[in-house]
Amino acid sequence: MNTVSRDEVRSMMGDVLAAQGKPLPADELTPLVDIGFRSLDFSELALRVEDETGDELNFDAPGLRRIETVGDVLDFLEQLQSA
């Protein structure tokens, strides 16, 4: 399975937000609620990663945690690719 680097996921996240005219802040501690990154956006980002890797991500993997910040999203998708 191909993997997408954390930087690449971050770039994709920026694309998802940019399509709505929103910027992606540099600070990974920025809460998602502050930048309007919602469940639809998160789902789209996951599909973008899947399209890039050519594999479905396993969202049933154990040990998933709360996702509240930009960094959480990047950590989560990085973790899923190795799940």
């Binding site: 399509a19 469940s39 639809l40 998160f42 789902s43 789209e44 996951a46 599909l47 973008r48 399209d51 479905e56 991500l57 969202f59």
Partner: protein, 414 residues
């Protein structure tokens, strides 16, 4: 040349002297059927339009109310279903080779069997008769039709029975898998009437607009899929002298609705109307229900069609299948047909297909494939959709394809 008379034969079809062009054959139905023979209960797998047309010609030439016919392209009859046909009493005629029935039986007199498209499971046998498949009545202006439908499909029989029943209705058959060639074939044979699915029309208009513009069409017919205003308008602009018709038909319900006013959908005043020899139409819980006078045997009374219908103003639009149209995005329901309509309204979009894609958190996201008439950015299409749809209905994954995918049925849906 006329067929040898048979004392027990049903009335000779009036159109036997109409011209038929199929493969290497160019003659009349009567000439095509001359010398043909069929088992009394026959399932014929026709590998070409010529073979299919010859089968029908033989059938009508010897039709004596004792024979029973199922005609289909090989691709519509799964191998495992062929033995079942023989067990059910059919002699299987495949590529000229006849295999006898495993359990021979008497024919059901005059029965013509159709197969459903099988998009929602294995193809089912649907009982009709030749007379029941002949739904066009009254005097018809002379036409030379192009028939691109797969042999044995309901729409294929519609063109064939029109030609058999009405003098002056010639048919030029086009092989479905050689879909790129039909405009040339039509020009070569002075075709002035063409029937096809909206996908079939969109594909041709996109691929070969110059040749399409040269077709001297007097009749343009669409059916088999939801018909949107954009494709009707495009065809009306290209063929100002043509009558533009869309037909709502299915193997079970038959050709239940015919609309000729150039507008998508049918008039809402038709709902609930009781008119002799016309279908009764109702919309219940968003689904079109039909009581059809031209339906299959046993298709009696008001029946659900499985097709979604939406009333907009004074029109009723048939938008897609009930079972596949709904996309659930985080608990919010999205109609794939509605999203598709928005995409098709964009001036750069020639074709669109919309579906739900499994996604985390929200369950499904709306995704779409499109084919463009001119270069356009995905962001442009997304912005177009966002301006016209609720947020959860905006396609989140948009893919641009190089060409319109076309299945044997001339449809592009799955």
């Amino acid at each position: 040349m006329t067929p040898t008379p048979s004392p027990t034969r049903a009335a000779t079809p009036p159109g036997l002297d109409n011209r038929v062009v199929a493969g290497t054959f160019d003659g009349t139905w009567a000439q095509l059927g001359h010398g043909g023979d069929l088992p009394s209960v026959a399932a014929v797998l026709a590998g070409s339009q010529q073979a299919a047309a010859a089968t029908v010609a033989a059938y009508v030439s010897t039709h004596d109310a004792r024979t029973e016919l199922l005609l289909a392209s090989p691709g519509r009859v799964p191998v495992e279903d062929r033995e079942q046909l023989r067990r059910d009493g059919f002699a299987l005629v495949d590529d000229g080779v006849t295999r006898p029935p495993i359990a021979a039986r008497e024919p059901d007199p005059g029965r013509v069997w159709l197969l459903t498209s099988g998009t929602t499971g294995r193809p089912k046998r649907v009982p009709h008769t030749l007379a029941g498949l002949t739904t066009v009545a009254g005097e018809q202006p002379p036409r030379r039709w192009l028939c691109p439908y797969t042999p044995g499909a309901y729409a294929w029989w519609q063109v064939v029975t029109l030609s058999l029943a009405h003098p002056g209705q010639d048919v030029v058959f086009a092989e479905p898998e050689r879909d790129a060639e039909w405009p040339t074939l039509a020009l070569d044979h002075d075709v002035d009437a063409v029937s096809g699915t909206p996908t079939f029309w969109r594909q041709a208009l996109l691929r070969d607009p110059e040749r399409m513009a040269r077709l001297p069409l007097r009749q343009v017919t669409l059916g088999g899929e939801p018909v949107d205003q954009a494709v009707l308008d495009r065809l009306a602009a290209l063929y100002p002298a043509a009558r533009i018709s869309w037909i709502y038909a299915s193997s079970e319900a038959g050709a239940a609705i015919a609309v000729h006013d150039g507008l998508a959908g049918f008039p809402a005043v038709w709902l609930g109307r009781e008119v002799p020899d016309r279908a009764r139409l109702e919309v219940r819980d968003g689904e079109l229900h039909v009581a059809s006078p031209v339906g299959a045997a046993g298709f009696d009374g008001l029946r659900p069609t499985g097709d979604r219908a939406e009333i907009h103003g004074d029109r009723v639009h048939v938008t897609g299948r009930v079972g596949t149209d709904e996309i659930n995005v985080g608990g919010s329901k999205v109609s794939a047909a509605s999203v598709r309509a928005v995409l098709l309204a964009h001036p750069a979009v020639a074709w669109a297909q919309v579906r739900g894609r499994r996604a985390p958190v929200v369950g499904q996201l709306v995704s779409a494939d499109v084919v463009l008439t001119r270069p356009a950015e995905i962001a442009e299409l997304t912005a177009w959709s966002a301006a016209r749809l609720p947020e959860h209905a905006v396609p989140r994954r948009l893919r641009v394809l190089d060409a319109i995918p076309l299945r044997e049925s001339l449809k592009s849906d799955a």
